[in-house]
Amino acid sequence: MAIVLKADRVTKRFGGLVAVNSFSFEIKEGAIDSIIGPNGAGKTTLFNCITGFYTPDEGDINFLGHHLQGSTPDRVTHFGIARTYQNIRLFSNMTAIENILVGQHPHFKTFWIEAIVRTKRVQDEEAAALEEARRLLNYVGLKGLGDHLARNLPYGAQRRLEIARALASKPKLLLLDEPTAGMNPNESADLMHFIRNVRDELGIAVLMIEHDMRVVMGISENISVMDFGQKIAEGTPKEIQRNPQVIEAYLGRGAAAGFETQSAASAD
């Protein structure tokens, strides 16, 4: 299987604090991977390093042959990475359709001068983009809400819009930052199906930051566990569930001991 993203000993410091500490991992083509860890572990910072918001102090991030470290966020998007945000960051005062149209930015080819005179090329391109945006809107289940302002949509719809906007750039890797935050179990289950569909139909690799363990364990193929900026474990869901360091990081040393006993007992 080809590797789409390879992070090698990525380190990011803020003054005296080491937010990401020599973190390495890989994402295979078409995989659904997760990064989990306690709050403040550095997961979003890692995302920011990948997408170009931050420049890592050390380390290398290779995406399909491109070096991401030192790239600006717009270039990273052109390479084929899209993301959603922990606290939804839509363009609140633009409509849903407009949000998606902005997401399609990397795929517009016409120039602004052409837009002034409205050449045939521009008209065709706009029409095609609008159609594609509507299609995406349907795909995420927001049919008919295109002309609503993003800020007026209910929370669940906003989350979906953000994903639609991310998909609009036709990425090869989709980064989802806590996509199920604020969702009830039904909605989370729907999202799980949705992510699988996205991967199956569009061939997009997905990297999630998630706290909902059902979702993580349910669809992830490979999980990396982060604490204090470092990777403390990596593996399949089953392996991670049993890993004592992971349990200790989340629940404390006592719990780790308890779990060991329990899993030892259940193994018999």
Binding site: F47, N48, G70
Partner: protein, 356 residues
């Protein structure tokens, strides 16, 4: 490491770097030429420096008002220059009266104190009114709205005072004890006493302010609010009172600055006098690091000296004629350069940008 640096470079960075080098080169060439030409004696340079310190004291006091308000409300009080003008313009009348009855002759100290009291009171009043009427209702609004209001308030105040007091220039009468011919010997330089008095008074006021902010309960409340408004409110601090106090203090200092300005500058006061000093004081506040109190003071003094020295020091060296006309442009250029290359000023911390 070097490789990584070059990887990150963009056109903007290159342009800015070239611009920076050009600016520094221009400064160095200008200074070098002037020094080599030796057109001015050291006594003359000394005069310029001390005059600059006095002017800088005025800027510093006004700058404190800007920095205090910015620290608490993250807002540039565009109309602060007019707060300064209000005090200065009102006190000139008292000054003329005191001079006419000979009070300034016999009791110069009391006279000046009276002037400061009046100017500070008027300026404080204007500042508090400003906050109450124009700024308080707009606390939650997007950044553009209070800025426009401040611009409107600036005009309104200018022309209100023009309507009240008339459009003429009025000069502060010279306090006989402080007339420019009375000089004191400092480090071998003959310095007009009035400039030293202004500098000294400004420093005293600054120390008083510092003690207030560091030692008193209200000062602590002010610092808390400038750190985190919401948490301060949760701790039971009355935000409105803190903000009003901040404006009041800034106003009082500006009023005092107005009197000091009148004491050593012969040009008159008039309704438009607040605009340029206001902008320059803002430059000073930014130079020192906006939100930082000692920074505002030092920034003000520094700006005063630079403004005094550099036109002669740099521009003449570069062969640019009429350096004096360009003095104001120089201050603006400084402002622009600081904001581009070091917006956090000398003492400020880089405001953390909230990313994702």
């Amino acid at each position: 490491m070097l490789k990584r640096y070059f990887e990150n470079l963009s056109w903007v960075d290159i342009f800015l770097r070239v611009f920076q080098i050009a600016a520094i080169a221009v400064i160095i060439i200008g200074v070098y030429n002037t020094v080599v030409a030796a057109k001015y004696t050291s006594a003359q340079w000394g005069t310029l420096v001390f005059a600059g310190l006095a002017q800088g004291s005025v800027y510093a006091l006004i700058a404190l008002g800007y920095t205090l308000v910015y620290g608490i409300m993250l807002m540039i009080n565009f109309a602060h220059g007019e707060v300064y003008m209000a005090g200065a313009f009102t006190a000139v009348f008292l000054a003329q009266y005191l001079s006419n009855i000979g009070f300034l002759d016999s009791n110069p100290f009391l006279g000046v104190v009276a002037l400061i009291m009046l100017a500070a009171t008027v300026s404080t009043l204007v500042a508090v009114l400003l906050e109450r009427i124009a700024y308080r209702p707009l606390r939650g609004a997007p950044r553009l709205v209070p800025l426009i209001t401040a611009i409107g308030a600036s005009f309104a105040l200018q022309y209100t005072f023009r309507g009240l007091y008339g459009a003429e220039f009025r000069a502060y009468p010279t306090v006989p004890a402080l007339n420019p011919l009375v000089k004191v010997n400092v480090f071998g330089f003959e310095v007009p006493l009035v400039q030293l008095v202004v500098l000294g008074a400004a420093i005293v006021l600054m120390i008083v302010l510092w003690l207030f902010v560091e030692r008193t309960k209200m000062g602590k409340a002010m610092r808390a609010v400038s750190e985190d408004k919401d948490t301060a409110r949760l701790m039971g601090i009355d935000i409105d009172r803190v903000i009003v106090t901040t404006f009041a203090i800034g106003g009082a200092l500006a009023g005092a600055a107005g009197v000091f300005n009148g004491l050593f500058r012969p040009q008159g006061v008039y309704f438009f006098m607040g605009f340029f000093p206001g902008l320059k004081a803002f430059t000073a506040a930014v130079l020192g690091g906006i939100g930082n109190l000692p920074g505002a003071m030092i920034g003000g003094l520094l700006l005063g000296v630079i403004e005094s020295l550099f036109p002669n020091l740099i521009l003449e060296g570069l062969g640019i004629p009429s350096a004096n006309q360009l003095r104001d442009a120089f201050a603006f250029t400084m402002l622009v350069l600081i904001l581009i290359f070091r917006p956090q000023g000398i003492f400020g911390e880089k405001l953390a940008e909230t990313k994702a």
